[in-house]
């Protein structure tokens, strides 16, 4: 699918909890070939103090209705402004950008770990990976149940576990200390993760130690999103790589983790 600058129609803007919103955007063209881990770079309108677009990973796609769902967490002025857009307005975005996670093989047993707004591509991956739900384990971490988003629509696609720092949902503590990790990690043939850097690093190291395939999704600050500004580089084992075009998904073995 060619990259384009597209005016999307905002069909829905739903507040999921205090800081998280789900935006459903309709594209005038089909949105084929859009996979978990890829992202779109959204223009923030009528905000003179915001100069650059804001990248968001894809939460879900409805290929028939040409819609893309985004999970938007308020982190600063740009994301806040975006959550103030109302249904019926247009949202301009460049898409599709970046490389997706490697889709699992039929024989794989996979572990997906999402932290914070990093749950978005994990839910999308659980939904479209095509595996028997018994072979899909999804672990979601949040600070508290009030930061957690409702994932009931996705629970048919795998076995879900939760961790919250205050113990208000699932196990108490960081997601990286969840009992999933004290069990036999080698039961999983592929691990995928998206979330805060420290979380992904801890998971990546466990995967490296056990020699399990592991992909992580980075979110280095970028200006363009399509490989021309060279600002979002990650210092990998083979030199500086653009997170926007060489990633955002990287195999942990390629990173200096």
């Amino acid at each position: 699918m060619k990259k384009t600058v597209t005016d999307f129609l905002l069909l829905e803007n739903k507040q999921l909890n205090k800081d998280n919103f789900r935006l459903v955007l309709q594209s005038p063209q089909p949105v084929s070939d859009l996979f978990p881990g890829q992202f779109i770079n959204v223009e923030i309108k009528e905000a003179s103090e915001i100069f650059l677009r804001r990248p968001f990973s894809i939460l879900d796609v409805n290929y028939n209705q040409h819609t893309i769902s985004l999970l938007v967490k308020i982190l600063g002025r740009g994301s806040k402004k975006l959550t103030e857009t109302i249904a019926g307005q247009t949202i301009n975005a460049i898409f599709p950008l970046g490389k997706s996670f490697t889709l699992p093989d039929k024989s794989d047993r996979i572990l997906l770990i999402g932290g914070g707004s990093g749950v978005a591509p994990m839910l999308f991956l659980a939904k479209i990976c095509g595996l028997d739900p018994a072979n899909v384990t999804v672990l979601i971490g949040a600070r508290s149940v009030s930061d957690h988003i409702d994932v009931s629509a996705y629970q048919q696609f795998g076995q879900f576990f939760f961790a919250t720092e205050d113990g208000s949902l699932g196990e108490k503590g960081y997601v990286t200390n969840h009992s999933v990790f004290s069990g036999e990690l080698n039961q999983f043939s592929k691990i995928y993760t998206c979330g805060p850097d420290l979380m992904m690093k801890a998971i990546g190291r466990k995967a490296i130690e056990k020699n399990i395939f592991c992909e992580v999704s980075l979110e280095n600050m970028m200006a363009c999103g399509f490989g021309v500004c060279l600002c979002c580089v990650e210092d990998t084992k083979t030199g500086h790589k653009c997170v926007c075009t060489d990633g955002p998904v990287f195999n942990v073995n390629d990173l200096k983790w």
Partner: protein, 303 residues
């Protein structure tokens, strides 16, 4: 039908809108978005003799009406350009201009000699104004004797159109422009980014790994316009203007101030289709003002 064609030295451009170095890769990166052959020219990513990894992350900071970058000329070197990139872009049907960088005069000369051999590279843009490298770069562009020395040396080995990209981080940019004109530069392009910085108040740390970086975007447009006007009045060679151009009106303002052509840079990060919108916008403006040739715009400022 309006005539958008302009000339820089002996080189014809189908229109005065070029993409700026470091903002469009080698052109290919934005080929999904626009037909590259519509452009007046493409100034490709800053190239050095040897591979450069560039500066450490973070390299970017968003600022009011603009951004800072501190990429530091990350590129794979001229051999990679000639072997892998040039064959893919040489027939794009637009002027492909290579932005040339070095740490020493010898580097600039050796790199220029390699590029002089390439039939489909009709011009180079000699970058003596990059603020993000420790040695060379801007150091050459901030004094008349060093700017003269590098242009003199490169002119001896380069027979095609030689554009010199000037730094705004100087006391009097017109003096530098005159100095490089005196050594045989065919054109000057300006402005490169302004040396600037950003601080994170919470952590009390600089935002960029290099502490300082180059400011671009609409924030610098009034400064760039002033400098283009000063240089236009000081030299006889054509001026290529850039600095915060986001739309056709911005581009037209630069041409009125004296630019024969313009480069669009940071705007591409926001919307890579902007150069084509600018070309269309200039045409519409000319029709509205009953101009036949875009040359009527150049330096038409009524003071």
């Amino acid at each position: 039908m309006v005539n958008l064609g302009i000339k820089i030295h002996e080189l014809d451009f189908k229109n005065p809108v070029l993409t700026a170095s470091g903002t469009c890769g080698f052109g290919e990166e934005i080929a999904d978005f626009i037909d590259l052959s519509l452009l007046g020219g493409i100034v490709v990513k800053g190239t050095t003799l040897k591979h450069r990894e560039g500066n450490a992350y973070p390299r970017m900071a968003e600022t009011p009406s603009g951004m800072l970058n501190a990429v530091g000329l990350q590129n794979k070197g001229v051999d990679n350009f000639i072997t892998n990139i040039y064959p893919r872009i040489k027939d794009l049907n637009t002027n492909i201009i290579v932005n040339v960088n070095g740490s020493t005069i010898e580097d600039y000369v050796a790199l220029t000699e390699r590029l002089n051999e390439l039939d489909k590279i009709p011009a180079i843009e000699l970058n003596i104004s990059c603020p993000n490298v420790k040695e060379g770069g801007m150091a050459f562009g901030i004094s008349c004797p060093s700017a003269e020395a590098v242009v003199r040396a490169v002119r001896k080995v380069y027979s095609k159109t030689l554009i010199v990209k000037l730094s705004p981080n100087v006391t009097n940019i017109a003096d530098i422009a005159k100095a490089v004109e005196g050594q045989g530069a065919d054109s000057v392009s300006l402005i490169n980014t302004l040396l600037a910085m950003a601080v994170n108040a919470e952590t009390r740390k600089p935002v960029l790994s290099t502490i300082t970086g180059g400011l671009s975007g609409p924030a610098i447009k009034p400064i760039a316009l002033r400098m283009v006007w000063q240089v236009y009045n000081a030299v006889k060679i054509p001026v290529i203007g850039m600095g915060g151009i986001m739309n056709a009106t911005d581009a037209i303002e630069f041409m009125i101030a004296g630019a024969s052509a313009v480069q669009v840079g940071t705007a591409l990060f926001i919307d890579p289709t902007i150069p084509v919108q600018i070309i269309d916008g200039i045409s519409a403006y000319m029709e509205r003002h009953k101009m036949q040739s875009v040359n009527e715009l150049i330096g038409s400022l009524q003071c």
